[in-house]
Symmetry: C2
Subunit: 247 residues, 2 copies
Amino acid sequence: MTNGATQQCPCSSLNLPKKFGIVLFPTFQSLDVFGPLDAFQFLSTHVEGIEIYLLSNTLDPVSTRFSDTKFPGSPPSTVGFSVVPTHTYDNAPEDIDVLFVPGGLGTRAIGEQEQNILVPIRDLIKKRFSKIKYLLTVCTGSALAAQAGVLDGYKATSNKSLWHWVITQGPNVNWVPVARWTVDGENDKIWTSSGVQAGMDMSLAWIAHVYSEDVATKIANSEEYMRNIDPTFDPFAKIHGLGQREI
Amino acid sequence: MTNGATQQCPCSSLNLPKKFGIVLFPTFQSLDVFGPLDAFQFLSTHVEGIEIYLLSNTLDPVSTRFSDTKFPGSPPSTVGFSVVPTHTYDNAPEDIDVLFVPGGLGTRAIGEQEQNILVPIRDLIKKRFSKIKYLLTVCTGSALAAQAGVLDGYKATSNKSLWHWVITQGPNVNWVPVARWTVDGENDKIWTSSGVQAGMDMSLAWIAHVYSEDVATKIANSEEYMRNIDPTFDPFAKIHGLGQREI
């Protein structure tokens, strides 16, 4: 938690991104969302005018329960919790600056679930990509962005335990297997991270890049968060059996 | 996210804690809850029968919005999101094994908000403490446990930027200023962590202690989480100006 003091970001500018759209879907990975969201909520105490929208197909609460996504090998656990969206994909504000796509088992939905859950997300990414300032993906969120075609020709990374599945989702993406996160695209528009916690390191690096290192450090200190500030330091690539580069 | 493979914990036993009660209140700190909860959700794919209850005063969605808690110096940010409780404090299952108390600005509520938000939590902790196997607190969650009197005579730690406020909430607690987390009480019943991310390190250490190191490692690898496994390594004590011990 913060100590309550509000300090204005010295980098204050009308052109800074202020409006965040966070994509939610059944069986999203909890920490993929709430790690970065914790940092974005702290960011709102340093930068005036930050708004965060939680987007989903409907306004019904969205559950993290693994068993809600059925595909061969999905775990039997019935544990999960639900978060309340603020907007649907269709009625989300038009001027979103930052589109944030998490991963989770839901990204592997098949059949009818794929039609209902994933197709609307791919459509959202396609529709919004040219208008947003930044696309941030965590974990298998990059598989959804790849399926939408917006990563073609650009560097991207993803969850390392599901790497071999992820890279088939975007054969024209420059997949980087050993990376905590990657940055690419015009004006560094595309940020993709490796699995789960890597999204927190990426989000703080993105905050440092866009707002200021000072603000990122203040947020990390408030969160007592031990940052990995090196995007190439990725011990989990080796743990999950990946080499230097696989395209 | 997991690769979908479910592996039974080799430490499987009828006496292992299975039922988790997570305390939610307005202006809880997002990552205090969802860092550990991500690990507990993965735990449910390794240990059969895990159940997680989200507890609050009512079944209304609970918001993280800073501005919902008003006290001198509270930040003006209107950013926040809402989570759906599964039970109230009053109708929560009687056989909860693990009571988990996060921190957040809500722990500093005053006046009528204190009466409505904090008194029921203190009552819950007092009422449940003798029945549970483990009490886990993150960040200023330990202030609530201290107010409830259950930490008296035991080691505890808390958020480092609010340390001087926290320690006044429990004059008979053995507060440890330089600690990522502490363990104390009969059968290592009481686990308290420093601020925000420290709760994730503590939760994985607790999983290693209670279930097995193998399960904790598997969860950390699934989360691509870089653990701090040393409870005495706490760089944020120095950053926030604390010395070796302050009681």
